[in-house]
């Protein structure tokens, strides 16, 4: 231990800490300044940036003693006298905060830029921002709002970018910041790793490291004997159900007889420090008999393939999914042109910036027994009561966490409580169980709180990703441009465990003829087990993959027919009265034609503004330019006959003469803006100002079940639940008021926060007080059931609604290097109704940039079941410098049952971007990639060799 002197946010501090400390550790763990976040610990993501003597550095790999004597500024040091820094205010105004995990890093890096420019008396340009923030990543926003916010904070008059929407109601339709954004921009927001409990232990997981092997023996004695180790658990220590799983319960809590992928958990350790826990892992010896590896979904179906789950009846076949419509022979016979290609998409990684973290707190935990208390200032609505096993974590499905943990502990679900902390992104990757069960087991075993924070490498290794697919698709069309038939065959790499494979690949299958009215369709999909990382949910849920194949083929067919790609799509696009490939007749809310028309108008406007005629492609000097288009659709809600419901509680009260309302539900916020939607629904129905509605999410003891946060469903189902709960509560209050005046309730009405009848008025304050006085509840729980849907194969309505979207990309390809730049994306999305245009636009831009990564940069590479992509540095998500100009239109074809007509948007925007970009590249240089991410090396070589198609994107074995 040595003396470290730092001036932190203006105050000198002296610490006695080991010289091996990193600055981030000192700030977060020694000084409790948890506003500084750690996303990677490898100097890659930049979100841990703080200022050292005014200069931004990555505090995660900055030795603390290098900063000896320096002045440090963190996000906590930006507010002055309770006033937000202009950057903080601008981030709020522009909706540049979603999950918020990157926000402190973005703001600190931007602050250094602003300070530097101010000192040099220079204006801040967009280019400056792109240089300064090049390596400070955000996975949620897509950066356009970030750039605008920084420009505004530098004193320029830049308004938030909000597309035109329908005239707003009182609250619905207004651009408002997410209620939790303020905590996120100030560094006060609490994510799981920010919680510290007295007496807490630190845990690590022993992972298989080999992709397929039989376990002969697990030896833990040496690890258990290491001083400071409090518990080492293996499968034998799981008292209840041995497996977990969201659909199929096939994933061992801790492996007993065999391991099926390199990330499998074999043992867990809790110790006094992370270091000791990590050292203990090295002492656990597992004797394996290695088995042959199956690492490809097609190979997995071969008769001689190694079998991943021997007990299953169908070998490695996880699910065969079928779509049948019409008569294929007739369909192709009627076609004048038939195009058939095989496409490949890679496994991709959600790369939420917050690695998984869980804290288990044992039943009966008493902090004072460990000489501490729990800081009430850190409570942010959480009631620390530990009368049952409690798990703090970032999760997309609190109630399923509870159920699965309870099953493993062998206790009823009510004896487990999940408290959802803020989540630094999820995108589907936080639906499956991570360490929730492990920390619960360790906490109960040791009688202490236990925290398990995954390293970035472990997060990459462990969690389910987007399915790699191989998609053969055959499209037939007539000369007049009408599609006659689509036949497709898909193989999806489900990896070692089922996770959500069946559901995801079903979505890929049912969307495999695109948002078109095709008379004859046959699709077969094989979701396969392999020894790769499991695959599950990732924004787009299978449709990202099939849309790429469908839309690539559409361009090829259009070319064969000599038709304009847009005109060809408009001939076939679904409209009201059309029928999907599963036989669902569209009765309402199909804004696709309007989306396509909007995108076409914006493409043309681009050229009009330059005083030239529209053209698909052109060259200037050694650069080649072209537009490409992609359209897509995405179901809202679970559909397929699954009961789809959500419950919400709305409670009202009066404090200091002011009415407040609180919405509670166990749906998850991972940055997508759900609290804003729920608060708006309640505010609208109760006639309350938005700012007077609080939202509490994901505490299973206080919030009813909102169901999984997946399938773009929460605005629809939880939004409806909140709306109906608020409405029912309002009706009750109206009754209370009517009773108070002794008048029939029918004579009363409600407007602008007031009940009135025949000239008599009563406000909400009185209504609530009278209700309380008469012992009537001032809260209401509502369970909302989405309209019934039909299982696949039975025809009828498979889904309650669909969102539709069209996007066009303008790309530039460099003649010398093959380097690709996306210059502009124009998009139009039919979302039913824009409940909050600010957070909605954030979803659209973030989705587009994420999908740009899918097209150009992202591939999680597995080789023989071992991840090549073992650090963040090997997986590049788009950075701010990749951000093109985004022009966005919002189309609002309301759907009858959605709240105020809204449908889901969370996934839609990240579906058509990939084909739009790949089609643009083909238009620019004549080389079509049938696989992503597009590889400039292969592109250039193919192009110079005069080839027109490339079968391999980056990262495949050629």
């Amino acid at each position: 231990m040595s003396d470290l002197k730092l001036q932190v946010n203006g105050k000198w501090v002296e610490l006695d800490v080991p010289q091996s400390r990193y600055l981030a550790e000192v700030l977060r763990y020694d000084l409790g300044l948890t506003g500084t976040k750690i996303g990677c610990n490898e100097s890659e993501c930049g979100i841990c940036s703080v200022l050292v003597n005014g200069t931004p550095v990555n505090s995660c790999i900055y030795p603390a003693f290098k900063a000896q004597g320096a002045a440090i500024i963190t996000i906590e040091g930006l507010e002055q006298d309770g006033r937000l820094h202009p950057l903080q205010q601008a981030f709020l105004d522009h909706g540049a905060v979603q999950c918020g995990f990157c926000t402190p890093g973005l703001i600190m890096t931007a602050k250094a830029l602003l300070d530097e420019k101010a000192a040099a008396k220079q204006p801040v340009t967009e280019h400056d921002i792109k240089v300064a923030l090049k390596d400070t990543y955000c996975r949620c926003t897509g950066y356009q709002s970030v750039i605008n916010a920084i420009l505004q904070a530098s004193g320029q008059d830049v308004k938030p970018y909000i597309p035109k929407t329908k005239a707003p109601c009182q609250t619905i339709g207004h651009a408002l910041p997410n209620p939790d954004s303020l905590a996120k921009i100030t560094g006060r927001a609490m994510y799981t790793d920010d919680f510290v409990f007295p007496g807490m232990l630190y845990a690590r997981t022993k992972r298989a490291g080999v992709p397929h092997a039989r376990i002969r023996h697990i030896e833990t004695a040496e690890a258990a004997a290491l001083p400071g180790v409090r518990a080492v658990l293996t499968h034998a220590d799981v008292p209840g159900r041995q497996n977990h799983g969201l659909v199929t319960v096939d994933w061992p809590v801790l492996c007993s007889d065999k391991v099926r992928y390199a990330g499998d958990a074999v043992a867990v350790v809790a110790a006094d420090s992370e270091e000791i826990a990590a050292a203990a892992l090295e002492l656990i010896k597992v004797d394996y008999e290695t088995l042959p590896v199956v690492d490809d979904p097609i190979q997995a179906g071969q008769p001689d393939a190694p079998i991943v789950h021997e007990e299953r009846p169908d070998g490695n076949l996880l699910k065969h999914i079928k779509v049948r419509k019409g008569d294929m022979a007739a369909g192709f016979a009627a076609a004048d042109v038939v195009v058939e290609r095989t496409y490949r998409t890679p496994m991709t990684e959600q790369m939420f910036l917050e690695p998984e973290c869980s804290i288990g707190v044992p039943r009966g935990y008493d902090p004072t027994a460990f000489g501490g208390t729990i800081d009430p200032a850190a409570q942010r609505g959480v009631q620390y009561r530990h009368d049952k096993t409690t798990i703090y974590c970032g999760t997309q499905i609190p109630y399923l966490d509870r159920e699965q943990t309870a099953a493993a502990l062998n206790v009823p679900p009510e004896q487990v409580r999940i408290v959802a902390a803020l989540m630094g992104g999820g995108f589907g990757g936080k639906e499956d169980i991570a360490a929730q069960i492990h920390v619960a087991l360790l906490a109960e075993r040791t009688g202490r709180p236990v925290k398990m924070l995954y390293t970035r490498a472990e997060s990459l290794l462990f969690h389910p990703k987007r399915h790699a697919t191989i998609i053969r698709i055959k499209t037939g069309a007539k000369r007049d441009g009408r599609l006659t038939a689509v036949e497709a065959e898909l193989y999806g790499d489900g990896g070692a465990y089922a996770s959500l494979s069946e559901k995801v690949m079903t979505r890929a299958t049912t969307h495999a003829s695109g948002p078109y009215d095709v008379p004859h369709v046959k699709v077969d999909c094989y979701a396969m087990y392999t020894n790769n990382t499991p695959c599950g949910a990732f924004r787009g849920f299978g449709v990202t993959q099939s849309c790429f194949a469908v839309e690539s083929n559409m361009d090829l067919v259009a070319r064969e027919l000599g038709l304009d790609p847009i005109a060809f799509r408009r001939i076939n696009a679904l409209d009201v009265g059309g029928t999907t490939c599963t036989g669902q007749v569209m009765r309402e809310s199909v804004g696709l034609q309007e989306c396509i028309a909007g995108v076409e108008a914006d493409m043309r406007a681009h050229h009009t503004a330059l005083g030239e005629a529209f053209r698909w492609s052109w060259s200037e000097g050694r650069k080649h330019y072209a537009w490409g288009i992609g359209i897509g659709y995405k179901n809202t809600g679970l559909g397929g006959g699954a009961p789809d419901k959500a419950s919400a509680i709305v409670e009202t009260g009066v404090t200091d003469g002011q009415v407040w309302a609180e919405v509670r539900t166990s749906s998850a916020e991972m940055g997508q803006g759900l609290p804003a939607v729920l608060a708006a629904c309640a505010a609208e129905e109760l006639g309350l100002p938005y700012g007077q509605v609080r939202v509490l999410l994901g505490d299973t003891d206080h919030c009813p079940d909102g169901g999984p946060t997946t399938a773009s469903r929460q605005t629809y189902v939880s939004g409806n639940a909140a709306r109906h709960a608020a409405r029912t509560l309002r009706a009750r209050l109206q009754q209370v008021v009517a009773d108070h005046f002794g008048q029939p309730v029918e004579q009363w009405s409600f407007a602008d926060g007031q009940f009135s009848a025949n000239g008599t008025r009563a406000g909400l304050v009185e209504a609530i007080e009278w209700a309380q006085a008469s012992g009537q509840p001032t809260w209401e729980e509502y369970e909302y059931w989405a309209p019934k849907t039909q299982p696949l194969g039975t025809g009828g309505d498979m889904h309650v609604a669909f969102g539709f979207g069209a996007q066009a990309a303008l790309v530039e390809v460099d003649d010398d290097t093959g380097a690709i730049k996306v210059l502009k994306i124009v998009g139009a999305h039919d979302v039913g109704r824009a409940i909050n245009p600010l957070t909605l636009e954030g979803q659209i831009e973030g989705g587009i940039i994420m999908c740009l990564g899918n097209a150009l940069t992202e591939h999680f590479i597995n080789e023989q079941g071992q991840a090549w992509t073992d650090v963040m540095a090997r997986y590049k998500m788009p950075s701010i410098k990749h951000t093109p100009e985004i022009i966005s239109r919002i189309i609002e074809h309301q759907t009858a049952d959605g709240p105020y007509g809204a449908k889901g948007i969370g996934e839609l925007s990240s579906i058509p971007t990939t084909p739009a970009i790949v089609n643009a590249i083909a238009n620019a240089v004549g080389v079509r990639f049938c696989s992503v991410p597009v590889d400039q090396d292969a592109l250039l070589l193919a192009w110079k060799a005069g080839e027109t198609e490339c079968l391999c994107g980056w990262g495949y074995e050629h």
Binding site: P18, Q19, S20, N41, E42, S43, G46, S49, T55, P56, V57, N58, I61, Y62, P63, F65, K66, Q68, T109, A112, V131, A132, L133, K134, D135, T136, E275, A278, A279, A457, D816, T817, A819, I820, L856, T857, E858, H859, I861, W868, T869, V871, A873, R874, Y875, K876, K881, H882, P933, D935, Q936, D937, L940, L941, K944, W954, G955
Partner: protein
């Protein structure tokens, strides 16, 4: 286990050497740590008992002009190099090469000395320095000595400067003067590879319409950062033109050893890049020699 125990910030070169000696191979130099610490963390090299940070050694935290050299101390970060007006004018290709390393947070702490000591065949700052004719001053128990930079490299990641026993105290080069110019270009892929597909730098001196002196560095084009000696020789006495540069690229192709590095670049692509990028690099250096204008390009790209 901690990745290191003790962190030293000595004030003199002698002190640094003394600490290294005292630890007998269990201590190691650290600049910004942007290579070193990640390699230790990721298990690619052993943990250290001590780290020795030269950034507070007097005189090594600056860039100075001395006897007709520009001298860069071991504590100087890429950001400092990029922002230094003397560097921008007289070591343009070094500014351009340091200016594309990582992002600002990395450049704010990472040093040129660390980049050179890391000895990667395609280290960007290394390529820029090599083209300028850089020399390194190595400090060890036996004292201080200057060495042409190309002499220290042995193989990928290997140099004669063992950071557990000695340090690079300074780096120097002759500033480009009248009728001189330099330029750097690199090709990077946007996917998950932190190293360039290929990078190259050139320094030229003109007399009238003739190239009288030229240095060209390319990486990765051999097991060590490559000084393209044959190409340099072939260019001397030539008149700059598209044809000359195209011929130079062909000469370079004959002396490089290009490999396919998995997921990073194919040999065929690298070959194509030497063909297209080397002429552009030479042309830019010549243009700067002609005009005397040397505004660095691509910094922060």
């Amino acid at each position: 286990m901690a990745y290191w125990n003790d962190y030293y910030t000595p004030h003199t070169i002698e002190e640094a050497v003394e600490i290294l000696g005292r630890y007998e191979g269990r201590a190691c130099m650290i600049g910004g740590g942007t290579d070193l610490l990640l390699e230790i963390q990721q298990g690619h090299r052993p943990r250290m008992d001590a780290l020795v940070d030269p950034t507070r050694i007097e005189g090594l935290d600056q860039i100075v002009e001395e006897d007709g050299w520009l001298v860069i101390g071991a504590g100087v970060t890429h950001t400092r190099i990029v922002n230094d007006p003397r560097m921008r004018q007289h070591g343009t290709c070094l500014v351009e090469s340091c200016g594309v390393i990582g992002g600002p947070q990395v450049r704010n702490v990472a040093t040129l000395a660390g980049n050179i000591a890391h000895a990667l065949p395609a280290g960007d700052g290394t390529i820029g320095t090599l083209a300028l004719g850089g020399e390194v001053q190595v400090a060890q128990a036996s004292g201080l000595a200057w060495q042409p930079m190309e002499e220290i490299f042995i193989g990928p990641g290997q140099s004669t400067v063992d950071p557990k026993r000695m340090l690079i105290a300074r780096i120097r080069f002759r500033p480009t003067g009248e009728h001189e110019g330099s330029a750097f270009r690199r090709v990077m892929r946007p996917q998950g590879i932190a190293l360039p597909m290929i990078g190259m730098a050139a320094r030229v001196r003109l007399a009238g319409e003739q190239i009288t002196e030229v240095r060209i560095a390319i990486g990765p084009a051999a097991k060590v950062p490559l000084l393209a000696v044959k190409t340099m020789q072939a260019l001397v006495g030539q008149t700059p033109s598209d044809k000359t540069f195209a011929a130079a690229a062909e000469t370079a192709l004959a002396e490089v050893q290009l490999r396919t590095s998995r997921h990073r670049a194919s040999a065929a692509y690298r070959e194509e890049m030497i063909r297209t990028q080397l002429p552009l690099t030479l042309a830019k250096a010549v243009e700067r020699a002609h005009t005397g204008q040397a505004e660095p390009e691509g910094v922060g790209a």
